[in-house]
């Protein structure tokens, strides 16, 4: 009886402990996350004093995160209305970007599979954009060609936007950013 009880405690402890540790670091951890509008960032992911969950996540793959003084990455999986980003829809990315020496906006697959795009363009840098007369940012993301700054999307399925800001003064206090300081993602229509 004692052996059974001991086996139950060990099985429960080891099983639950290892499984919860695996799920906690299989993706970017909930700990240390900052949500700014549609964008999510982990301001401490490139800092010296990063938390153990982020360290474990980074150690499980070939990751080279942007350093805290080097830049900042923001990820969006949903639009401003909270709907998941879907390749069958058209999105407009408008508004402002925080001060940075340069930035890029890329489309990525959440499961890191290669994207099936109509043309080989996965990202826009700030220098490649055609801006309107007021200097505003307007990118149209869609699976089929669009006029203006067209960012091709996969024909179907979920995707992410990744905004990388290089040499930005905000990287140390990214959690205090206001949603208006970041590009807005709005769904135009869906097929």
């Amino acid at each position: 009886m004692r052996v059974l009880e001991l086996a139950y405690v060990i099985a429960l402890g080891a099983g639950l402990g290892l499984a919860s540790a695996h799920y906690a670091v299989a993706e970017r951890p909930i700990v240390g996350r900052a949500q700014i509008g549609a964008w999510t960032t982990w301001p401490k992911s490139g800092a010296r004093d990063t938390d153990p969950y982020m360290r474990a996540y980074l150690a499980r793959g070939v990751h080279l995160p942007l350093g805290a003084g080097e830049g900042l990455q923001l990820i969006a999986e949903r639009d401003d209305a909270g709907q998941p980003l879907d390749g069958r829809c058209r999105y407009s990315v408008t508004g402002l970007t925080p001060p940075a020496r340069g930035w890029s906006l890329a489309v990525a697959d959440p499961a890191r599979r290669p994207l099936q795009l109509a043309v080989a363009r996965e990202s826009f840098s700030d220098a490649e954009l055609v801006r309107d007369e007021r200097g505003g940012l307007r990118i149209i993301a869609a699976a089929t060609p669009e006029a203006g700054n067209w960012l091709p999307l996969p024909p179907s399925g979920r995707f992410q936007f990744r905004l990388r800001l290089y040499d930005t003064p905000i990287s140390s206090h990214a959690g205090e950013l206001r949603p208006e300081a970041l590009p807005r993602i709005s769904r135009v229509d869906c097929r």
């Binding site: 990063t50 996540y57 080279l64 830049g71 890191r112």
Partner: protein, 215 residues
């Protein structure tokens, strides 16, 4: 008439004994068993918490597939080597930015401090130190360059103490010394591509970063 046919034998005195046991013994036994199960489950949950914390802390220590372990051999020739696209026989970066180029240099401070020096160019360049087991130990950009050169020496705390003891009295060292918590890691040179045509220039800039012995 057999005794079985006697209804008193079935529902009478002999049947009263187990009925009495079920009202007194079973609930007590069941209650004790339940309490024991709850106690064992609590012990299991406490153990699960300990295992969870230990596992999360041990993953970086035991990691063999992190960037610093995978790319440890790159940069042997004294300069950083490109990892975008992935080098032959090695895995590529997990989430590369299509608008940047990265070159790395593996370092092992057990043989002495390492000097990193980079010439700056027109494209934004960032240098980061990634320690083994994930995590950035230091980051600097080309804005900190002096006369177009970005240079620092990577060392452990013991090596810094040794250097401080060797420094001449009253003389200030002009070199930037960076202390890293672990003796092994990666020096990463990342150059942002403003346009696709910049790739050649960015790759030349990233691979020109020198990482040599400081002694």
């Amino acid at each position: 008439m057999s005794t079985l046919d006697d209804p008193r034998d079935l529902h009478g005195a002999p049947a009263a004994k187990p009925a009495r046991a079920s009202t007194t013994g079973w609930p007590r036994l069941l209650g004790r068993g339940l309490r024991r199960l709850v106690l064992l489950t609590m012990m299991g949950l406490v153990l699960a918490g300990i295992v969870h914390i230990l596992a999360v802390l041990l993953i970086p220590v035991l990691a063999e597939r992190d960037a610093a372990s995978v790319y440890a051999a790159l940069g042997d020739e004294g300069h950083a080597e490109l990892v975008t696209p992935a080098p032959a026989g090695l895995p590529g970066l997990a989430e590369p930015d299509p608008n940047s180029v990265s070159a790395v240099c593996g370092f092992d401070l057990s043989t002495g401090p390492v000097r990193v020096s980079a010439q700056t160019g027109a494209l934004p360049l960032g240098l980061t130190l990634h320690r083994r087991g994930g995590g950035v130990a230091y980051a600097i950009t080309d804005r900190a360059a002096i006369r177009g050169v970005l240079e620092f020496v990577v060392m452990t705390q013991e090596q810094l103490d040794e250097h401080l003891a060797q420094d001449e009295e009253g003389e200030t060292s002009r070199e930037l010394r960076v202390v890293v918590p672990a003796p092994q890691g990666l020096i990463v040179a990342r150059v942002m591509l403003r346009r696709a045509v910049d790739r050649g220039e960015a790759e030349a800039l990233a691979t020109s970063v020198a990482c040599t012995s400081a002694d």
